[in-house]
């Protein structure tokens, strides 16, 4: 037996540092699943094969009737008309004319019933694939994707949330997967916090202090080495690599023509940044468009909000397709719930988790598919009812993660998705 290199000297720690990092990499994959990262691979191959996910969070609850499941000329349909799309027979709301031209890349699930009308609980269900309970917390989709798909050797964070504001720190959304997979927020598209060298420190002096840190670290680990000290050291090195590649967060590097195409408003800039991040190997990017919680004047607000959403989103889809990234990138447009078919007395629509829609595409998903349907005026699911659990399984399967597998968390197997649910098989190619 080899001598344990850790200070504890136990048999369990008879392992080299290289082996340790390799195991960490292996554990990033899914036990019992496809284990997409379990084997060694060159950085180039990883980059080529790496799957990615972008979620556009339509915060507040996008109306399915003003987007993916219009019901014109009915008592619930509202004032807007349905328009044809690039998929024969598929119609969406007239508020999405640019997106309509890209629907041959996308699919719609029109039969979601989460039975959840609360913002927090609805969002939790859609982003974790589980119902929220006091007994357990589950990682959000970004954390799951980051752990399952981000190469362990990647210097880049795997879970990025482009927010409308905020300071750019880590969030608490990775549950048992640990803080490494928690989202890093890019407040209004700004780079992560503390990734630039303080002005008072020169490049040369920084190299000197890093060399000193490594020397002190090496000396310490000669006798006091633990898994934690290795993780600390690895985090430092990863941080330094991130600082070197900080410019991937710099939207100014994108051509002016693309800035013009995507628009100067926040959502346009955020979509362009999302494209840049995905192209540069970030595994999961979330963009938020706000706000759709339209209890009042639903139609005015959807006109306003979707007028802003439509162009940049359509351009993002078209660009990902043009760049050959649709096979490797899952696109999801979702909310915490939809909105009531009933129009209230203030021209508003209220919370509605009973029969609503999600638009998605890319990866293994069938292009141009429509899954499920609602009844004539959208008050109930009429065919192929699914919920958040089905959707989460499908998201995972779309990017090659075996959603029936588990993560090995310190010896405890934690299912990737709710074991009581299944993916929407007919949506997967």
């Amino acid at each position: 037996m080899k001598k344990c290199t850790y200070a504890c000297g136990t048999e369990e720690h008879v392992i080299s540092r290289r082996q340790f990092l390799g195991d960490v990499a292996a554990s990033a994959g899914v036990v019992g699943g496809l284990g997409v990262l379990a084997g060694p691979a060159s950085a180039a191959k990883l980059a080529k094969d790496q799957k990615r996910v972008i979620v556009v969070n339509m915060a507040g609850g996008l109306s399915q009737l003003e987007s993916w499941d219009p019901k014109p000329q009915t008592d619930t349909g509202g004032p807007f008309r349905a328009i044809s799309t690039s998929v024969p027979g598929m119609h969406i709301c007239e508020l999405l004319p640019e997106t309509a031209k890209q629907m041959h890349h996308l699919a719609i699930v029109r039969s979601i019933n989460t039975k959840e009308n609360d913002h927090g609980k609805g969002g939790y269900a859609m982003f974790t694939g589980r119902r929220q309970t006091p007994a357990a917390d589950y990682p959000r989709i970004g954390a799951v994707v980051a752990k399952a798909l981000t190469p362990e050797t990647s210097p880049l964070p795997g879970h990025i949330v482009i927010s409308n504001g905020g300071s750019g720190g880590r969030s608490n959304d990775s549950a048992y997967l640990g803080p490494k997979y928690a989202s890093i927020s890019l407040g209004n598209g700004k780079p992560p916090q503390n990734t630039d060298l303080p002005k008072s420190i020169t490049e040369a002096s920084d190299q000197q202090r890093q060399a000193f840190r490594r020397k002190a670290n090496d000396r310490f680990t000669l006798r006091r080495r633990t898994a934690f000290t290795d993780a600390y050291a690895a985090n430092y090195e990863q941080g330094l690599e991130l600082m070197k590649r900080r410019e991937i967060f710099d939207l100014a590097k994108e051509p002016q023509a693309d800035h013009d195409r995507y628009g100067k408003h926040d959502f346009g800039r955020h979509c362009l940044l999302a494209r840049r991040l995905l192209e540069n190997g970030i595994t999961f990017v979330q963009v938020t468009h706000s706000n759709y919680d339209t209890h009042n004047e639903n139609f005015n607000f959807h006109l306003e909000q979707l007028g802003e959403f439509d162009g940049p989103f359509a351009r993002l889809v078209a660009d990902l397709a043009d760049r050959g990234m649709m096979e490797s990138t899952l696109i999801v447009v979702m909310s915490e719930f939809g909105r009531t078919p009933r129009i209230n007395n203030r021209y508003g629509r209220d919370h509605w988790g009973t029969a609503w829609s999600v638009c998605l595409g890319g990866g293994r998903l069938q292009r141009g598919a429509i899954i499920g349907k609602t009844n004539a005026n959208g008050t109930a699911v009429a065919d192929r009812e699914v919920d958040h659990g089905h959707m989460f399984h499908t998201f995972m399967q779309a990017v090659g993660v075996d959603s029936t597998g588990s993560f090995d968390i310190e010896g405890r197997l934690m299912p990737v998705a709710d074991p009581s649910s299944t993916p929407i098989g007919e949506l997967l190619a």
Binding site: Q73, E304, Q305, R346
Partner: protein
């Protein structure tokens, strides 16, 4: 004798679906309404007899008439449609594709020859009301156009938008003459990231001295309908803001306000507080009288006899109120 404090409902008629806009025809025979079922309704004032006119494939939001009372014109998220006013079964006689987007407002010139429309495409257009041909297009608004009004002199057209800007256009030249700044009627809520409010209604006083711009303010929660009604009154010549009429204690929006010859301004507020008719004197910010209606209001019009008011409601009713003492 007109006395707003005597206002009372004289008739109410119910349609199958919630109502949106309302206008009396110039001869005062009918009140026309529009509904969430895409139809237009003609109600005969004497009997309440309803005739439903179908042709729009979206919600009609605005109504106007040729001054001779021959035709009613309705505009929605689709087109402008001309209908005969008084025939037994009105069928559309003209349809004009007018805007890219929702037609939100229409008004007719004092000489009855021109029809102005405003829409979500940020444009104001003027049409020959007789044949539906385009006469002039006015571009310059930065956001959706919510209201239009011809000045009594016939030389100018006013248009108000979501951003709280009122443009005064010279009709003949198409030039923007000046702007009235009614930005108090606009809110950008940074938390919800929405623009809200806007100039929902315009009215000129009969003596031509004042311009009223109505809508809402104090929009602390636009998506949750927490806002209060407001009408700004500007002096026409100087553009000085001379009054801010409020509906103290009410949550709502002024959908329409109309100056009356008896020197008061009548408006309707609809919102979480319910539906109200509010009456203001220019000298006072607060209403001197308010009349609560049975349900939220969505539009208001005044009869040519200047004593009757029509309001449309979310409970599918059109209600006729009279500003005179009840008949015993």
């Amino acid at each position: 004798m007109i006395d707003p404090k005597q206002t009372h409902v004289t008739h109410q008629w119910k349609h199958d679906r919630p109502l949106i806009a309302c206008r009396f025809d110039p001869q005062g025979r009918f009140v026309f309404t529009t509904s969430e079922d895409n139809s237009v309704q003609r109600w005969e004032l004497g009997s309440g007899t309803k005739v439903v006119m179908k042709g729009h494939d979206s919600w009609p939001r605005s109504i106007a008439f040729t001054p001779d009372g021959g035709h009613v014109i309705t505009g929605g998220a689709d087109d402008l449609i001309w209908w005969p006013v008084a025939t037994e079964k009105p069928e559309q006689v003209r349809r004009v594709v007018a805007h890219k987007g929702w037609i939100r407002t229409m008004s007719v010139s004092p000489d009855g020859k021109l029809l102005a429309t405003g829409a979500n495409d940020n444009l104001v257009k003027v049409w020959n009301i007789t044949d539906g041909s385009l006469v002039k297009e006015f571009a310059g608004h930065g956001k959706d156009v919510y209201s239009t009004l011809f000045h009594a002199g016939g030389e100018f057209l006013l248009s108000g938008d979501l951003a709280g800007q009122v443009h005064q256009w010279e009709i003949a030249s198409g030039k923007l003459v000046r702007k009235f700044d009614a930005k108090q009627l606009h809110t950008y809520n940074g938390g919800q990231r929405v623009d809200f409010g806007g100039v929902r209604t315009l009215s000129m006083s009969p003596d031509g001295k004042h311009l009223a711009c109505g809508g809402l303010y104090k929009a602390t929660n636009p998506l949750g309908s927490v806002h209060e009604p407001l009408v700004l009154v500007f002096e026409w010549e100087s553009q000085k803001l001379v009054q801010s009429h409020v509906g103290e204690g009410l949550k709502g929006v002024v959908w329409r306000a109309i100056f009356h010859e008896e020197e008061f301004l009548c408006g309707t507020s609809g919102g979480t507080s319910g539906g109200f008719l509010l009456f203001w004197k220019t000298a006072e910010p607060k209403d001197f009288h308010r009349f609560k209606l049975p349900d939220l209001t969505r539009d208001l019009d005044i009869h040519p006899d200047r004593t009757q008011l029509a309001t449309t409601h979310s409970d599918s009713h059109v209600r006729i109120s009279r500003m005179t003492p009840k008949k015993s």
